[in-house]
Symmetry: C2
Subunit: 247 residues, 2 copies
């Protein structure tokens, strides 16, 4: 089953986000979609695509939110450029790499600054978030190791998660916390793609999905907790998150 | 010993690189430096900083190429924002994250397009290169594991390198090879930051530095070999690489 949610329509008069100085061909205002039709294909999970989806929602870009099931994937995989999702399609062309897509959406919507030095601050935060995700990734990939039994996987993952919970989260999140003590959002007074990406990271870490990472892991970081709530309360984000809740 | 190479002066009349449509505040022409003085601090190796250094050389951006020895590092580490290098300093501010720096340099020099859709193609290639580097990274980090003896490290690294040489290089490099069959450079007829980044990857892989990765690993990829030679022959790149040769 491929769920399709036509987005963009979610953006409306309730929008409160102040966007950055937009690129020359950015969308003229919130709620108006770009002329090019965009389709984003990914699994029916947040994963690495949710940052792109959420940025499009906040920026008021209409897109087709195409979701493939894990059962469908083996038949679709050989048709994708590098055997990977997400896949973005627009104007008859296909694009890969979620980080590249996020930059595109940022530039089209104003969630990325067109000033190279302001964008550097945004990209710096994204890089820090990527560094943190690189610490988490090996523990997630264990699940795909077919040479291990379920018990062996659990035994291998446990100490890795302990390190993430006790060392990596404190190290990285204290740096994000400090940024949020200095500014309303991670790089200043406006929402950027860096905020969107970090939102998906804190939602992941505090979801309780990852064994060994407690849903309370944000408790030592009050600014990050408040940031998460504020981002989730942006009307377009709230509407999107509501729409993805499993029935 | 901190080696300092004043760059930018290397760029001269011999420049053959055609730059993309530049950003509004891009440098007016090759060989002219930006008014802001830039200092880039990193170890005296290529590592993740060489893509930034090489992009600045190609783009004709003057910068101070500050290099710290591994002996100096423990005393410098606590003074850096996240205990990491590279560190870029400009206008009294400090910036981290080499990928963010590369985007900045690209935008300032025209090695990154200001058209969001053209930049997407560049960022897509950078993302593919990052995916490949993520495959290599775990085998490099083994060297820093203090719980292992030299013999244990060697035993642990060997099968990882075998996978890189026999699976990852064929998988990823065949994709880059295909791109170079379609275009002179990875995304089209002009050099971009994607070409610069991939150049540093192929130089690393074919250097013979990595145990288990033969210096002949590019032999199955004639287009990549020719690309490497062409990039290294760009006058600014050739001058820079010559300047870094150990005396």
């Amino acid at each position: 089953m491929a769920a399709r949610i036509l987005a963009g329509a979610l953006a409306g008069a309730g929008a409160t986000v102040v966007l950055n100085d937009a690129y020359p061909d950015a969308i003229p205002s919130l709620g108006l979609s770009r002329p090019k039709d965009i389709k984003l294909t990914y699994f029916d999970i947040a994963g690495v695509a949710d940052k792109v989806r959420i940025a499009m929602h906040i920026g008021g870009m209409a897109f087709e939110d195409d979701r493939v099931s894990f059962a469908q994937w083996p038949s679709i995989k050989p048709t994708t450029p590098n055997g990977q999702l997400p896949l973005m399609e627009s104007g008859g062309k296909r694009y890969t790499q979620s980080s590249a897509m996020l930059q595109l959406v940022g530039k089209l919507t104003g969630l990325q600054s067109r000033d190279p030095w302001a964008a550097l601050l945004v990209d710096e935060v994204i890089g820090l978030d990527e560094d943190f995700r690189k610490k988490v990734a090996p523990s997630v990939y264990v699940a795909y190791d077919k040479s291990l039994s379920a018990r062996q996987k659990k035994a291998k993952v446990a100490p890795m998660r302990k390190t993430i919970a006790e060392e990596d989260i404190p190290f990285y999140f204290s740096r994000f916390e400090k940024k949020l003590e200095e500014n309303e959002y991670l790089t200043g007074p406006k929402v950027t793609i860096a905020d969107v990406q970090f939102l998906t990271t804190v939602r992941w870490m505090s979801s309780g999905i990852l064994d060994g990472i407690p849903a309370t892991c944000l408790d030592p970081f009050p600014k990050i907790k408040a940031f998460k709530e504020k981002m989730e309360a942006i009307p377009e984000v709230a509407a999107y998150l509501e729409s993805t809740k499993k029935k």
